[in-house]
C-alpha cells in the first residue's frame, strides 16, 4: 500500500542519515578508560560550564540581534529598509573562525586599535584595561555575530506572516505598539524563534575553530584533546555521546513545549498590514539597530580580509584558485539540492504518516548538527569502511576479486556527511513551512485524484517556495564554509576554498589565507542576495500578486 511505502522509505532514509550519530553512540558503548577519572578530577566541570555558558550566551545574543532587526525590516519602514533586508544576512557567509581571526587581528593587544589607543594617549600596558577579545565573552560575541542570521531569517518570515486581523484586534483593544510587539507579535512568532535559536545553539555547541583559537575550553575542544592528545578515541566518542544526549534532551523539551499549539494559517484573505512608518529619531534608531550588526558581523571582518588579501593576493592566487572555487561551488550547490530533497522527503513523509516511529527516526537524523564536524565525519568513515571491508572480503571469497574501497574516500561519502550534518538546517525550514500549509490542502489534492507524490510536487513545493529557497541558501552557505568533514573525507587531490583557508590559517598565515576566505564570502554573497530577493518577493502562503 502506498502509504506504507512512505513509512518505510522515510524511516529508512532517516535512520541511514542518523548512521553517524548511531556510530558515535555505538563506539561510546565500550568500557570507559581511566581518562574519565582524570577529566572529572581536573577539567570536566570547566568544559561543561563553558559550553553551557557559550550556548546560552549565543542563544540570547542571536535573539537580541536577530529579533529586533527582523521586526524592523519585516514590519516597519525606515531609510535603508529594503537594503538591510538582505544585507543583514551577509554575516552568514563568513566562517566563524575566520571572523575570530580578523577580530583578533584588530582588537588584540598588538592590533591596530589598541596600538592606536596606546600611541594616542601614550599609555603603556598597565595604564588601561581593554576587554580581551580572546575570551569566553569574545567567543560568544563572534558566534552570535555569524549565527544571528538564522534567527533573523526565521523570525522575519514569522513576522511577515502574522495576519493584520490579529494586530488590528489588539489595536482596537487599545494596546500600544510596544506592548503589541511584546504580547502578540513575539509570542506568535515563538515557534520560529525557538527553531532558529536551537539551530544556533547546536552550532555553538559544535564549534571548534573559534573556541580553540580563543583558548576557551569547551566540551568540543575537550573531545579533541582527549582524542588527538591522549589518543583515546573511545573516551572522545563517549564525550561526544554525552553532548548528543544533552542536545537530544533539549530538542525533546522544545518539541514538548511546542506540542500544544498548532500554527496553521486559517485565513486565506489575510491582507498585509501597511508598514509602520518610522520617522525622525525613531527612523535613525532603526537604521542604527540594523547597521551595527551588519558593520560588526560583515563590514569590519570582510574589510580586514580585504586589506589582507590586497597585500597577499598576487602571491597566493594562481591557476589552482579557480579549481578550488569550482570544487567549493559544485559541492555546495550539489549538496544543497540533495539535502533539500532529503529534507522535503522526510518532512513530507512525517506529515503523511505522523507515527511515533517515523518522528523518532527523523528526530535522530536531525542530531548530526550538534556533533562536532570531525566526530560526525568519523561516524561516516567507520561504517563506510566496514561496508567496504565486508563487500571486499565477500567478493574475494566468492569471485576471487577485490572491490577495494567503494564508499570510503569518495565524494559520495562527503555528500553523505554533509547530509547527515546539515539536514536539520533544511528540515527546520521545510517543517516550519509545512505546518503553515493546512492539512485540508493535502486532502483536497488527494480527492482530486493526485497521489501523495503528486501532491508534494503540485501543491507543497510551489507553496513552500520561500521556505525551500531559505533552506537552499542556508545549506549552500553552510557547506561552502564546512571544514572538518571535508578535510577528513575528501578524495585524493581534491581541495576546496575552506580547506585551503584552513591550511594557511592553521599555519598562522592569516594574511595569506585572506584571499581564499574572501572568496568563500564572495561565493556566499551572490546566493544570499539572489535568494533573499526572491524570498522577499514571494510572500509566504501567497501567490505573487498579478
Amino acid at each position: 500500500m502506498g502509504i506504507e511505502r512512505w513509512t518505510l522509505l522515510v524511516t529508512g532514509v532517516a535512520l541511514l542519515l542518523a548512521l553517524p550519530v548511531f556510530t558515535v553512540f555505538f563506539t561510546a558503548l565500550q568500557p570507559a578508560s581511566d581518562v574519565w577519572r582524570h577529566l572529572v578530577d581536573t577539567v570536566l566541570a570547566d568544559y561543561v560550564l563553558n559550553s553551557v555558558t557559550l550556548m546560552l550566551g549565543v542563544g540570547v545574543g542571536t535573539l537580541l540581534i536577530g529579533v529586533p532587526t527582523a521586526w524592523l525590516t519585516g514590519v516597519c519602514e525606515f531609510p535603508g529598509r529594503r537594503w538591510f533586508e538582505w544585507a543583514l544576512l551577509l554575516p552568514m557567509a563568513i566562517p566563524a573562525y575566520i571572523m575570530a581571526y580578523t577580530y583578533t587581528g584588530l582588537l588584540d593587544f598588538a592590533g591596530p586599535v589598541q596600538t592606536l589607543l596606546r600611541e594616542t594617549f601614550d599609555w603603556s600596558r598597565q595604564d588601561y584595561r581593554f576587554p580581551a577579545i580572546r575570551s569566553l565573552p569574545g567567543a560568544t560575541l563572534m558566534l552570535a555575530l555569524v549565527l544571528y542570521p538564522y534567527v533573523y531569517l526565521l523570525a522575519r518570515a514569522a513576522f511577515l506572516e502574522q495576519s493584520a486581523a490579529v494586530l488590528e484586534v489588539s489595536r482596537s483593544l487599545g494596546v500600544g505598539p510596544w506592548r503589541r510587539f511584546l504580547t502578540i507579535t513575539l509570542p506568535l512568532a515563538r515557534p520560529a524563534l525557538i527553531a532558529g535559536m536551537s539551530l544556533v545553539q547546536m552550532e555553538a555547541l559544535a564549534d571548534y575553530g573559534t573556541v580553540q583559537y580563543f583558548g576557551v575550553s569547551t566540551f568540543t575542544t575537550g573531545i579533541f584533546r582527549v582524542w588527538f592528545g591522549m589518543n583515546d578515541a573511545t573516551a572522545a566518542m563517549q564525550l561526544a555521546a554525552l553532548l548528543l544526549l544533552f542536545v537530544f534532551t533539549l530538542l525533546v523539551c522544545e518539541r514538548l513545549s511546542r506540542r500544544q499549539t498548532r500554527f496553521h494559517h486559517t485565513d486565506q484573505r489575510t491582507q498585509r498590514p501597511p508598514r509602520l512608518r518610522l520617522s525622525g529619531r525613531w527612523s535613525w534608531l532603526a537604521t542604527a539597530t540594523c547597521l551595527i550588526p551588519l558593520l560588526c558581523g560583515f563590514v569590519i571582518p570582510a574589510g580586514q580580509l580585504l586589506v589582507w588579501a590586497w597585500r597577499t593576493a598576487p602571491q597566493m592566487i594562481d591557476h589552482r584558485f579557480l579549481e578550488l572555487a569550482g570544487h567549493s561551488l559544485w559541492l555546495a550547490s550539489g549538496s544543497a539540492l540533495l539535502i533539500l530533497s532529503l529534507a522535503l522527503l522526510l518532512g513530507y513523509g512525517q506529515r503523511l504518516r505522523p507515527r511515533p516511529l517515523v518522528r523518532l527516526a527523523v528526530r535522530s537524523a536531525g542530531l548530526g548538527y550538534a556533533v562536532p564536524g570531525t566526530v560526525l565525519a568519523i561516524g561516516v568513515m567507520l561504517p563506510f569502511a566496514a561496508i567496504d571491508r565486508s563487500v571486499d572480503s565477500w567478493t574475494r571469497e566468492w569471485f576471487g576479486l577485490s572491490t577495494g574501497l567503494l564508499l570510503s574516500g569518495t565524494l559520495f561519502a562527503l555528500l553523505f556527511a554533509y547530509s547527515a550534518r546539515f539536514l536539520p538546517v533544511a528540515l527546520h525550514s521545510v517543517e516550519a513551512g509545512l505546518t503553515r500549509i493546512r492539512p485540508s490542502m493535502d486532502d483536497a489534492a488527494r480527492s482530486l485524484g493526485s497521489r501523495p507524490r503528486a501532491v508534494l510536487w503540485r501543491v507543497h513545493i510551489p507553496m513552500l517556495r520561500s521556505s525551500l529557497l531559505t533552506a537552499l541558501l542556508l545549506v549552500f552557505v553552510d557547506v561552502l564554509k564546512e571544514l572538518p568533514a571535508t578535510l577528513i573525507l575528501r578524495p585524493f587531490n581534491f581541495n576546496t576554498l575552506a580547506v585551503r583557508t584552513y591550511e594557511l590559517a592553521s599555519d598562522e598565515r592569516l594574511a595569506d589565507s585572506a584571499s581564499f576566505a574572501l572568496a568563500i564570502v564572495l561565493a556566499g554573497i551572490g546566493p544570499v542576495i539572489l535568494l533573499s530577493r526572491a524570498i522577499s518577493r514571494v510572500r509566504p502562503d501567497h501567490a505573487p500578486l498579478s
Binding site: V35, T42, V43, T104, D108, F109, A110, Q114, S124, R125, A132, R134, Q212, Y213, F214, G215, F224, R225, W227, F228, G229, M230, N231, R311, T312, G334, S341, T374, I378, M381, L382, A385, D388, R389, D392, S402, G404, L405, L407, S408, G409, T410, F412, L415, R453, W457, I461, P462, L487, I488, P491, F492, N493, N495, E503, L504, D507, E508, R509, A511
Partner: protein, 345 residues
Amino acid sequence: MSNRLQSRTLPSVCCVLLASLLAPPALADGEVNIYSARKEDLIKPLLDDFSQQTGITVNLVTGKETELLQRLQSEGINTPADLLLTSDAGRLTAARQAQVLQTIQSEALEKHIPAAYRDPDGYWYGLSVRARPILYAKDRIKPTALSTYEDLAAPRWKGKLCVRSSDSIYNQSLVAGMIAHHGEANTETWAKGLVANFARSPKGGDRDQIKAIAAGECDLTLANTYYLGGMLTSSDQAEQQAATQVAVFWPDAKTTGVHVNVSGAGVTAHAKNRDNAVKLLEFLASDQAQRWYADVNNEYPVNPAIPPSATLKAWGAFKADTLNVAKLGELNAEAIKLMDRAGWK
C-alpha cells in the same frame, strides 16, 4: 507543467551524479598515494619535483594527523594510501602501534637520517627537524638572564611569559620531553610554576605569542623557529616588524639540549605501491629535498650534511635534545594530563 518536467528529470540526474561519485579512485601503476598531515604548501612543491623527475603520479590528501590515522585504520587492507606523512613523531609512533606501517630498510635513508630521528626498526623516518627555543624581547631581556626551560618557572619571571594553550601539540611534546628527562613529579612542579608566570591566559598560535612580545604584553615565549622565520619573510609588514623585535635563545645548552621534534613519514602496511613509496621517501631525504625544507620552510634538515637556511644560521647553532623522538609520542597523554593538573589551559 514545468513541475512535471522537474519531477522526472531530477531523480534521474541525481542517480547519474551518485553513480559518478561512487567511482573509486583509479589505482594505476605509476602512482603513489599520500595521506599527509603536512599542509599542502609545505609538501606539494616537493612532490611535484618528484613527479617530474620520476614520472610517478603523486596523489595527495592532507588532513590532521589523528584523523588521517583513523582513516588509515578504518580502511584496513583496502587503504589506497601508500605513505603517511605527519608533522610530529608522536603520531608516527601511534601509527606504528596501530600496525598501519611497515618496516623499510634502505641504505639511502639510514645514511641521510641520524638514528635519533628515525624509528629504531625502520617503521618511519624523520624528514625535517623543528626546534622550540625560548624567544625573548630584545629590548627588555638580556639573554644572559636566560638559561633553561626549567628556569622559566622561577618566580622572577612572574607576569612575563606568554605561552600558547596546552591544546598545542608543540607544548604537549615539549612537556613530554621534560617528563622523559626530569620525571613526572618534577615536571608537574615546573608546569605549575610556569603557569604562575603567565602574563595572560593561553590563547592564539605561536605567531600570536611573538606579536604579543613585540607589543609589550609579555617578554618571553616558547615558539617554533619556523614561525619566527615565516614572520620575518612575511608579506605582512606588521608581522615582519614584530618579528624583528624578538630574538632566539637556545636553552639547556649545557644539559639536555633544545627540545626538538620531527616531521616524518612511514610506508603503510598495506601499500599497493610500496616501491614508489620508498622512492618518494628516499627523495624526501635527499639533499635536494632537505635543502628545500631548510630554505622554504625554515626547518632544520634531518640530514646533518645540509646547512640550515640563512635565517636559521643567523640565530646560531644549538645543541639539540638527543632523546629519541619516539619517546615523545609515548609520553604525550601523560603530558596532557599533567598540564590539566597544573591548570595550563
